[in-house]
Symmetry: C2
Subunit: 408 residues, 2 copies
């Protein structure tokens, strides 16, 4: 029941020169599920990542951070579903390392050139032997045209694969940007049970990519929320192979801004697809807070609305219950908020101002907006000129069903 989530045709997905993907089934949790994915990256590829801030971070996340800190060029990624290898103590650290070693051995590279990722159930030991046994099959499967299969193979509670692929012309070069993501619950700012992999054949200087991956995440994956839960395993990885011939060395380089915009569009699309496929979602909701004095207060208000179960159930019911939205603005934590300056719109309809309902507002107008599958909530605080946008979804019976039954 994903909300307006478009899956590109297999033929419309552009391969990224320098990125091969192999997929197999290791039987980690279910016998018939493709659950093991390997990326092989051509020499010269720059790789950067951002990771969950959860203190109970999973073993593979810790391993990724260690590997990236080494500055060894990354030559492979390995991803399993079915088990998150989180809350697994020292044996979990060993399993994450063995995952890298198995990949490295089969590819003939160093284990320090491999980034591992796991997603699935927390607090269960990772069956690393199954991964080791299946690794040769994943490597045999390596090919540049496997993005579509990879999008499926990294799914957990996702109902739909999440793929983005576009070509843009920059400085006379055709640049390809293709990416995949996964995640449907435990989603909130600062990463979520979400994995995102974005590749381009543009070349990007390593230090610049390190900065860029954080900027991209902050404006895309860190602006989505489903249930306010931050997972132990989140990761967003950007890869730049350089094989298109376009090379960006610094922010001033010709084509940098155009490439940055194109990458941000890709990251935002992949992030919003996670919300569109959120557990039980029936509506896709954009919350835009304007006229804030600071970014912090804009985000506080946006997330107060986005996290309120009362607001989210009202969206589910297509009920223009303005009071619940105003209440959320009121408890967002801006101590000196003057509610008489606050304006609230549903879509284009001005519904509240001067501390109460707009005199001309008719409930039928709000109802019309709420019945759509795509809803814009716009709040003006009257305190400054900062604007922030957050993406979320409604809260349905299906959400409870999915999360009450997940492990059974």
């Amino acid at each position: 029941m994903a909300v307006n989530l478009v899956i590109p045709e297999r033929d419309a997905i552009h391969r990224v020169a320098g990125v091969e993907i192999g997929i197999t089934s290791a039987g980690i949790r279910k016998a018939d599920k493709k659950d093991l994915t390997v990326f092989r990256l051509a020499q010269g590829t720059a790789v950067a990542g951002v990771f969950t801030k959860n203190r109970f971070k999973a073993a593979p996340v810790t391993r990724c951070e260690t590997v990236l800190a080494n500055k060894t060029p990354i030559q492979a990624l390995v991803i399993n579903t079915g088990n998150a290898n989180a809350g697994t103590g020292r044996p979990g650290d060993e399993a994450a390392l063995r995952m890298c070693q198995a990949t490295a051995k089969n590819l003939g590279v160093s284990a320090d050139a491999v980034l591992p990722f796991s997603t699935g159930v927390i607090l269960e030991p990772l069956p690393i032997e199954k991964i080791e046994q299946a690794m040769p099959n994943a490597v045999t499967d390596l090919a540049e045209n496997h993005w579509h299969e990879a999008a499926y193979s990294i799914m957990t509670t996702d109902t739909q694969p999440k793929i983005y692929s576009r070509q843009v012309s920059i400085e006379g070069k055709t640049v390809t940007i293709t990416g995949i993501s996964k995640g449907a619950g435990m989603i909130r700012p600062n990463m979520a049970t979400m994995l995102g992999y974005l590749a381009t054949d543009a070349g990007i200087n390593q230090q610049l990519l390190d900065e860029l991956v954080k900027e991209l995440a902050d404006q895309s994956f860190n602006r989505i929320t489903v249930d306010g839960d931050t997972s132990t395993n989140d990761a967003f990885i950007a890869m730049a192979t350089g094989q298109s011939g376009l090379t960006i060395d610094r922010r001033g380089s010709l084509g940098f801004e155009q490439l940055r915009e194109a990458l941000l569009a890709a990251a935002t699309d992949l992030a919003c697809k996670i919300v569109r496929d959120a557990e039980g979602a029936t509506k896709f909701i954009t919350i835009r807070v304007e006229e804030a004095a600071t970014q912090d207060e804009a985000l506080k208000v946006a997330y107060a609305i986005a996290h309120s179960p009362l607001v989210k159930t009202a969206f589910f019911a297509s009920d223009p219950n303005l009071g619940r939205i105003l209440a959320a603005i009121g408890y967002a934590g801006i101590d000196d908020l003057d509610v008489d300056q606050v304006k609230l719109w549903l879509g284009d309809v001005l519904v509240a101002q001067d501390g109460g309902r707009h005199p001309d507002y008719q409930e039928a107008q709000g109802q019309a907006v709420m019945q759509g599958a795509e809803i814009l909530v716009r709040v003006a605080l009257g305190r400054g000129s900062i604007r922030e946008t957050v993406y979320t979804c409604d809260f349905s019976h299906e959400y409870v069903s999915i999360n009450a039954d997940y492990r059974s």
Copy 2:
């Protein structure tokens, strides 16, 4: 479907000398509902209150704060259900004032001696004429033995009335403590869509009561959470008539500690009854965080667990999904948390330590705890000696149904 919520027999509810209550139906939202309640307080009664911190505070809350700041002795309370008179702008302020004036006129007191309270739908104009017309009937009904009826008349989405009544012997005097509360959704720390009224025939110095009401709220009504939403209308009022003959002038007075404990027991009971009757609740959950370095971090961890929809749906499913609880501890916001020092118990079962599952833990043990209607989650952080307790409930299909259908 309230969880182990005990309603005392009508005969077991002790009247509080000096407090009379009158109830009637004003037809504010539904024709057949008792929706208007008046308290008349004997001269010499000390009254103190704490109120919502929501910036969109309702008109009656603003009025209460103004009246209490005047230091005029309070002689009456007036409470309506069916409409919260919140987000109603200047006409709402006028309606709150007229509610006080109508009460004052019918009781022959000053409007500045009346505290008004409203609860129900937000952002709809309060039909003040209906309240004015019904006021004489409420006043005619005044009697000391109407606590039971009052508990029913202040209900909104509550399925059960919430009443506490106890007599204690302090310094040779029989002291009565009786109170009522309401609230079922939009409940979180710093007050909620919740009203609480606690009366005693002990005498308490006004300044001491002003302090005491905050202490009591902080350890009871400010430690419960259902959905993380703070309402616009919350209020907790303590009344001390002095008619028992026991008088407490200061903290050093004989009997102070005993009275304080008795009042705290009453406030905690009334607060927990709100959680027991929370919208859709099937489990009552106590979250105790121990060995914290500060109160702030203890509460951060407790509320991260209590607010996680993933944890709450796991409780609903009786699923000992420890990973979700550990994840919530991990994202609670303690930046230097050493997860290897964290211990987690379900009931008396030690389920996690050293960053992962306890080696001896069997899932059947966790399952047995989770199947109960009363669940204790205990977390030790290994950082200090501060302990805090928060009360919450699970998250069920029924919660979504109630909140998706509330206004229809």
